[in-house]
């Protein structure tokens, strides 16, 4: 008991901040003409979004949205666009020759040193669908849905290392601290299904992405908007089932009591993070029912499992794709899939083109194509935006780490040009946007920066990226910072 009282006292002291000093001295300081300063310090305005317990309630966008939901598939490590989509027959002619000096002068690479050799495309390319999209034989299943996809071949970014590039791709800034795309989406639109989180993250490939959980974090937005990571396999959310000997009623009473205490301390301290905690307890309780149900794939017919290539009981990218469809079907706003293991440098037996890339494509090609097909036949693709891509591209040169010849075929990180694709909600079908030069080094037509892509995704969700802001540390922040231009050409 004594311990508890000490803790209470400590907590109270902890909340006696500079803010309270200024607040209680408000009158005399105000006389000094600092009233306006105090105004910005009072706890009522530190909660600018008017956040309340129903922070996740459905909200209205700025204009009629073309997409209601998003599935963002991120291939962490960055797949090679030159092996999959960006067909460069000219590069084959330069295969094994020294890289032209113009590609190297003043450039920085993650690993390439000196003068590397060019590396010709390793996939066999052909055109598919009525749109005639170039897709290599690495992705035989995707070939069958080519007409639903719009490719952006002229993506470019600012960052050549995984973690900053992933941060830039998902939070609009290369450093930590900003909200992710999914957080912005649920902050702006809320969540429709009250029994499921609005922003769910599923990972596969054995490791987390290099930038860690920050790429689905909520940054300076209230933390209720962060992505909720679910595990794949038998138990999607840890501790979601009732512990032994504790009935559901007892669990309910416990949570209600905890929330009552939290509500009292919110009255005291007015910290919006307490509201987040309350709503998370409530959500967790509801999830005990809904999550096992939605994550249960045993009720799926076997031909659907076959379509995705899912083996029950095995956590995999294929399973995540199937779960993504089920979550979207239950009106989850934003589903983020990360698949690790695409970093094909050629430095070892796994990270290379001839073996590693083939293996990653084998694991992911069928489920991705199945996801598009499944969403389409359920009438969900029209309302759901599907985005696919890595954090940057790969060089047209073969990597020569430390100036040496590498044991396997591989390419270094490349910021100037890479391919991403989108499909579904509000996106044109069977369009190729942008173009790279003959060797696939630079984008030469309709270049699309990461911020442009983000602006376009927000537009499809019903927001003008320049007017969709959150006040933090004295200024209004945007996902696209001060950049970003809508890619109108790909919007249906």
């Amino acid at each position: 008991m004594e311990k508890l009282i000490t803790e209470l006292q400590q907590t109270k002291v902890l909340h006696q901040t500079r803010r309270h000093f200024l607040q209680s001295c408000g009158f005399s300081l105000g006389a000094l003409g600092l009233g306006s300063l105090l105004d910005s310090c009072s706890p009522t305005t530190s909660n600018p979004s008017g956040l309340s317990a129903d922070a996740m309630s459905v909200k209205t966008p700025q204009f009629v949205p073309k997409a209601k939901r998003v599935i963002y598939i991120h291939m962490a490590g960055a797949p090679s666009q030159l092996e999959l989509f960006d067909y460069k027959p000219e590069l084959l002619k330069y295969h094994g020759k020294d890289c032209p000096a113009e590609f190297l002068e003043g450039k920085k690479f993650a690993f390439i040193q000196g003068v590397p050799k060019m590396l010709g495309p390793q996939g066999k390319f052909n055109q598919y669908g009525q749109s005639g999209a170039w897709i290599s034989d690495y992705l035989p299943h995707l070939q069958t849905v080519a007409d639903d996809i719009t490719f952006i071949k002229s993506m470019h970014t600012d960052q050549f290392n995984h973690a900053p590039a992933q941060l830039l791709m998902h939070t609009g800034g290369a450093r930590l601290g900003r909200p992710s795309l999914g957080s912005w989406a649920v902050y702006g639109l809320g969540s429709e299904n009250q029994n499921l989180p609005g922003f769910i993250v599923l990972t596969s490939g054995g490791k987390q992405p290099d930038a860690g959980k920050s790429i689905w974090g909520s940054g300076f937005l209230p933390s209720v908007y962060q992505g909720v990571q679910c595990r794949t396999g038998t138990d999607p959310v840890l501790y979601v089932s009732d512990p032994k000997g504790i009935s559901r009623d007892l669990r309910k009473q416990t949570i209600e009591t905890i929330n009552e205490i939290n509500r009292q301390s919110y009255e005291d301290i007015q910290d919006p993070e307490i509201l987040t905690r309350i709503s998370q307890y409530e959500m967790a309780f509801r999830m005990q029912m809904s999550v096992p149900e939605v994550m249960d794939i045993t009720k799926e017919p076997s031909f659907i499992l076959d379509m995705y290539g899912v083996k029950p009981g095995e956590g995999s990218f294929a399973m995540n794709c199937l779960l993504a469809r089920k979550l979207i079907e239950n009106d989850v706003r934003f589903v983020q899939l990360f698949d690790w293991g695409w970093d094909g440098h050629g430095s070892n037996a796994r990270d290379n083109i001839e073996g590693g890339l083939h293996e990653k494509c084998r694991q992911t090609d069928q489920p991705v194509a199945a996801l598009l097909r499944d969403l389409k036949m359920r009438g969900l693709l029209e309302e759901t935006l599907v985005v696919w891509g890595g954090e940057f591209g790969r060089t047209p040169m073969q990597e020569n780490r430390n100036g040496l010849v590498m044991p396997y075929m591989g390419r270094d990180h490349h910021v100037e040009a890479f391919t991403m694709w989108m499909a579904g909600g509000g996106i044109k079908k069977g369009v190729v946007h942008g173009e790279t030069d003959e060797l696939g080094y630079y984008g030469v037509k309709d270049r699309v920066h990461v911020h442009d892509l983000q602006a376009t995704i927000l537009h499809l969700l019903g927001f003008d990226h320049e007017k969709f802001t959150y006040p933090f540390q004295g200024r209004n922040f945007r996902l696209t910072d001060v950049e970003g231009k809508l890619v109108k050409e790909i919007i249906a």
């Binding site: 700025q62 204009f63 299904n193 009106d331 036949m377 009438g379």
Partner: protein, 497 residues
């Protein structure tokens, strides 16, 4: 125009914004005064002298106030200098002449000067004429020059010697054979007219630059020549377009319609070829990227206003705001009710959180018959009865009925919905008969019938009959097994290579 003192507080611009309000007072006062004076001349009516003097006094006072507010508004900047200066002096003159008229109209004054009455009418006449002129200039300042007469119909256009209307002018640029097109007049000039000459022409020369003639481009403006013959990389008219859009020097200014990549390419190509005035496309060498750019320009020039056609007609409609009580009633039943967007009153309603929603509760939708545009009742307990209520939602464009007990009979009731574009009928008992009754609806764009009783042959037949309608039936078990087998084989052969 910039007074440091004025900029410290928000007062000047606050008062300034009232200029458009105040300015209508002297216009009204002076016109009614002129009207009364004229009518009195012709002895049609009788008005007391005091009343006329009172109106004139207020004309003078209100025009003076309008001048002050106008000056404060202009100090905020952003107006075309020439036009502004004209408008300002005309406005001041209105105030001045109103005061003069008021003074010379006074009894003491009229007694001293013999032709006082004539003097009074002259000043009043000038004040009225100036009011009209200043009013027109003010309109041009806010709406842009030519706003008033932009849509003058024929035959008045030809009679007054105006240029043909823009739509007709566009038709003039229809290109039939690209090889025979004159590069400057058929390709370059229309681009400049679309993007540049509104601000850089003979009458309005922003930055002292005119872009309506080749010679004027070469002559350039404040920051030197806009065009250097044969060298697009040094030509400012190209460089300015390539700057980031946020750069102050970027052209066209932020917010104005921008040049497309193709347009910049074509302008650069024309400059690099020496900016000829009369050469045809066939006379110039066409390099790799120019060909597709030319093709796009031709197809754009020949298709009439594609952007306007894109706008969905439904959302351009104005509808009244929904009654809050009706919305709350639906919410109380557990439904999500949300505006589609912040700028209008269309509603989206979803029963995702209330699977128990049933036919009885459907009556709650009836008061919102105009507002409900997207409706999701997937997985609820509704039956055919509910569809008679849904059929009354006249602006419905998206309807989710998947996983419900509806049948063909209920579905037929939806036939009269004129805006319905999306219809989801997956996992229902709908058959070919039901599909046939609604496939003829003109507004429909996509119907989803996977896992219903609809057959593939009916889908194929209706798809042929209504090529614009997309009917999606998805995969069935056997079809899927085949396609997986095929791709597995492909993969196997790919591995062998």
């Amino acid at each position: 125009m910039h007074h440091p003192l004025l900029e410290v507080t928000g007062w000047p611009i606050f008062i300034g914004r009232f200029h458009p309000v105040i300015v209508h007072l002297p216009i009204g006062f002076l016109l009614i005064l002129a009207l009364l004076e004229i009518m009195q001349r012709f002895s049609k009516i009788r008005v007391s002298q005091d009343m006329l003097r009172y109106i004139l006094l207020w004309s003078a006072i209100s025009s003076t106030l309008a001048c002050v507010a106008g000056y404060l508004l202009a100090s905020g900047g952003g107006y075309q200098e020439m036009l502004l200066s004209n408008h300002q002096w005309q406005g001041i003159a209105v105030a001045a002449f109103s005061w003069i008229a008021w003074i010379v109209g006074a009894d003491q004054f009229r007694k001293k000067i013999q032709s006082g009455r004539v003097f009074y009418f002259a000043t009043l006449g000038i004040a009225v004429a100036l009011t009209l002129a200043a009013g027109h200039q003010g309109g041009s300042l806010t709406h842009g020059e030519g706003y008033l007469t932009q849509h003058t119909p024929e035959p008045f256009r030809s009679i007054t010697g105006m240029q043909p209307s823009p739509e007709q002018a566009d038709n003039g640029h229809r290109i039939t054979d690209i090889q025979q097109a004159v590069v400057y007049t058929d390709i370059v000039k229309p681009i400049l007219e679309r993007r540049c000459t509104q601000c850089h022409n003979a009458s309005k020369q922003k930055g002292d630059l005119r872009m309506d003639q080749i010679a004027m481009l070469v002559k350039g403006g404040e920051s030197g020549p806009a065009l250097i013959t044969g060298n697009s990389a040094q030509s400012k008219m190209i460089l300015r377009c390539m700057l980031p859009e946020n750069d102050d020097k970027h052209m066209p200014p932020k917010g104005k319609p921008q040049l497309t990549q193709d347009e910049i390419l074509l302008l650069s190509w024309w400059i690099d070829k020496g900016a000829p005035a009369e050469k045809r496309v066939a006379d110039l060498k066409i390099s790799g990227q120019i060909e597709p750019a030319l093709a796009t320009i031709v197809s754009n020039a020949n298709s009439a206003a594609p952007e306007r056609a894109m706008k969905p007609s439904l959302f351009s409609k104005e509808i009244p705001k929904a009654n809050v009580k009706d919305i709350e009633a639906l919410r109380a039943a557990g439904l999500i009710v949300n505006n589609l967007s912040n700028d209008q009153h269309f509603l989206e309603v979803s029963a995702v959180n209330s699977p128990g929603f049933d036919d009885g509760e459907c009556t709650l939708l009836t008061p919102l018959s105009e507002q409900v545009t997207w409706l999701k009742l997937a997985g609820t307990n509704i039956t055919d009865t509910a569809l008679s209520h849904i059929a009354a939602l006249k602006n419905l464009s998206k309807l989710h009925l998947e996983h419900t007990a509806i049948t063909d009979r209920g579905l037929a009731q939806l036939k009269n919905l004129t805006h319905l574009e999306y219809l989801n009928l997956t996992h229902t008992k709908i058959t070919d008969t039901g599909l046939k009754t609604i496939a003829s609806m003109k507004s429909l764009k996509s119907i989803y019938v996977w896992q219903s009783a609809v057959t593939d042959s009916a889908v194929a037949q209706l798809t042929r009959q209504y090529p614009k309608l997309s009917i999606v039936n998805g995969v069935n078990v056997s079809g899927l097994a085949q396609s997986i087998k095929k791709t597995d084989q492909l993969e196997a052969t790919a591995k062998k290579h």
